[in-house]
């Protein structure tokens, strides 16, 4: 084995130009795979941070069955904020803050002096939040407010697109209309406090309403439909969710942030699938290069294989020799690609990368990073691929008859 390994590694550098080209293809391919994944890690890290700190919190509590009806938030599945069973939630170790919310749908109009100038009311989905407690759970919400906006008991925020359609400006009166939990339509007067920027595509008809105003509008004083819970460390979420479930019993349901923001989870899963597909294509192209190099090597060294067989090398040893050669080539290319890729990703991660997703108005700063587990998987797959793709040339060499191999046939 050591003798075969010595021959294999030396053979890799025998045709330096060919080895360089094949190894360079491996380096470029691995570099691309590591870089794409690294940038995606940064993007998904930013999406998760903006989701947790700007929308969901670490986990959420609702009345049982609430999320199943999430397309039309049921106000009847609400709860009293002074329910004693909720008191222990804030005391769970790792929980840093709890904020009540009401999700509801309604319409908004901004009346003008002349009735004919008043635009048609717009339907929207609103999140009613407590202006004092909410920043403790979702501090990034403040970053979603456009410059000069205000959000307090008397002011609400609307999506940028809605603001334009309603021809509204800061301080304008805003009339909210919404059916309460009994289905009766109620109204509430508030004021336009400013615009909400959009982080993800599709967040156009949204509003953020002060909780007290929403409770009056919906006849839900002292009640809410959602508790958003902030945690110290996202890694603790699964354990905290389990503890909260045990604490609250079957009346309530507890969901981690990614079970609530399923659209973002799906978005990231699609990104992962596309990145995996691209990586596989890169990997296949690289490995075809390795297979070609190994086939050329076998064809050029038929006599040498014959000589080795003449002095007693077995078929298995010939197979092993060419597999070791392919693996040596793979190690060179994979090591080079990983080194280059992780260095590039680390450099981007140190500096940060600011991007604005299409249809969004909030820029995200990504911090690309490489996960050691991913690097191990990429290296293992690339090396395994080198072995698999060189199997045909290696088998071809091992099946030569000594007499034919010595004659170069």
């Amino acid at each position: 084995m050591p003798a075969l390994l010595a021959i294999a590694t030396r053979n890799v550098f025998r045709n330096r130009r060919r080895t360089f080209i094949t190894a360079a293809a491996l380096v470029v391919g691995i570099f691309a795979v590591v870089s794409i994944r690294g940038v995606l890690n940064g993007l998904q890290g930013a999406i998760i941070a903006s989701t947790v700190k700007g929308m969901t919190g670490g986990f959420q509590v609702h009345r049982a069955g609430y999320l199943a009806n999430v397309l039309s938030p049921p106000l009847t599945l609400d709860f009293a904020l002074d329910d004693p069973s909720l008191a222990g939630l804030a005391k769970l170790p790792g929980v840093t803050a709890v904020a009540p919310r009401i999700m509801f749908g309604g319409s908004l109009s901004v009346p003008k002096e002349k009735e004919e100038d008043t635009p048609e009311p717009l339907f929207f989905m609103a999140t009613a939040v407590d202006p004092t407690l909410e920043p403790q759970v979702c501090p990034d919400r403040a970053g979603l407010m456009s410059a000069g906006s205000r959000f307090d008991e008397a002011h609400l925020l609307v999506g940028e697109a809605m603001l334009g359609t309603l021809d509204a400006k800061l301080g304008d009166e805003a009339v909210l209309l919404a059916p309460d939990r009994d289905g009766a339509l109620n109204g509430e007067l508030s004021h336009v406090g400013g615009a909400l920027k959009s982080v993800m595509p599709g967040e156009l008809k949204v509003a953020q309403v002060p909780l007290a105003a929403a409770q009056r509008l919906l006849r839900m004083e002292g009640r809410a439909t959602e508790l958003a819970v902030a945690v110290k460390d996202l890694a603790q979420v699964p354990s905290l969710v389990a503890q909260a479930r045990a604490l609250l019993g079957p009346t309530y349901e507890v969901h981690a942030w990614d079970d609530v923001a399923t659209d973002r989870r799906t978005f990231m899963q699609r990104q992962n699938a596309i990145s995996a597909l691209v990586s596989v294509v890169f990997l296949l192209l690289m490995l075809l290069g390795v297979a070609n190099t190994m086939l050329m090597s076998v064809l050029e060294r038929t006599r040498e294989v014959g000589t080795m067989m003449a002095v007693g090398v077995t078929r298995a040893q010939v197979l092993l020799l060419f597999l070791l050669e392919a693996l040596s080539l793979g190690v060179v290319g994979v090591a080079g690609g990983l080194a280059l890729g992780t260095t590039f990703v680390a450099a981007l991660g140190a500096k940060g990368l600011t991007v604005t997703p299409p249809s969004a108005t909030v820029a995200l700063t990504l911090y690309p990073s490489s996960s050691p587990a991913f690097l191990v998987v990429v290296a293992a797959l690339a090396l395994l691929g080198c072995a698999v793709f060189s199997l045909y040339p290696a088998l071809r060499a091992s099946r030569l008859r000594p007499v034919e191999a010595l004659a170069g046939r």
């Binding site: 000589t307 002095v311 007693g312 090398v313 077995t314 010595l406």
Partner: protein, 240 residues
């Protein structure tokens, strides 16, 4: 007991749709310590015969006893093991492994049988010294002359202490002076250590030195004759 005993060996090659017979029933015995030559015109079957004796190819029919052991029907790995232990090869084109230096080329067959490298190294250096390669042990084959390369091949063939060394046209790629030196070396090894040599050659210099010449023509052995008679037949009477 003969070292090699062939009986009724036949071999045919398929060329397109035609079967071309290469050996048509060879009976041959080679004794230990022989320095023998198989000679014959091109296409007579001498290389095929050497390939079968060297277990590089299989006979279609017949019996092959090596050191009293029947070899017909052995699988590839068994044949590889037997080649490694009992047979040394010297080729016309030297057939060294280009990425290994002299000492690594010589020790390679022994490493295949997992010999201890430290103990082996001493033996390899002794063999290398014996064939006159002590000063080029670290050289790669492409840094050696033709004669030196053939010496490496001889050392590689001998280091496993085989029963027989098969040499296929060993002087064909060497100049006259180097050929004589290589033949001197092989003759000395045959005389000193009793290693059996079997050559396939056209080279009259080899035939002159052979103790026995086996003639093959059209896939059949010509009636056995001693070396002197064959030499006279092939080369004419030696000069007085």
């Amino acid at each position: 007991m003969s070292l090699i005993k062939l009986q009724g060996i036949t071999k045919a090659y398929q060329l397109g749709k035609t079967q071309v017979p290469a050996l048509k029933g060879i009976d041959l015995a080679v004794e230990r310590g022989e320095f023998a030559v198989v000679m014959g015109p091109s296409g007579s079957g001498k290389t095929t015969l050497l390939n079968i004796i060297g277990l590089l190819d299989r006979a279609d029919a017949g019996s092959y006893l090596l050191d009293g052991e029947e070899l017909a029907g052995r699988d590839f790995n068994e044949m590889a093991g037997l080649r490694n232990k009992k047979i040394g090869f010297i080729f016309q084109s030297f057939n060294l492994i280009p990425v290994l230096n002299v000492i690594e080329n010589i020790e390679f067959p022994c490493l295949l049988r997992r010999e201890d490298k430290k103990l082996l190294r001493a033996r390899v250096e002794r063999v290398a010294e014996h064939v006159g390669l002590s000063h080029v042990l670290a050289h790669k084959p492409d840094e050696l002359s033709g004669g030196q390369r053939q010496r490496v091949a001889i050392a590689r063939a001998l280091v496993t202490e085989p029963e027989i060394v098969l040499a296929d046209e060993p002087t064909a790629n060497l100049d006259s002076a180097t050929s004589e030196q290589i033949l001197d070396l092989m003759q000395r090894l045959n005389a000193d250590s009793g290693v059996t040599f079997l050559f396939s050659t056209h080279d009259p210099r080899v035939m002159r030195r052979a103790k026995r010449v086996v003639q093959i023509a059209d896939g059949r052995l010509v009636d056995g004759q001693d070396a002197a008679a064959a030499n006279v037949a092939v080369l004419g009477a030696p000069p007085h």
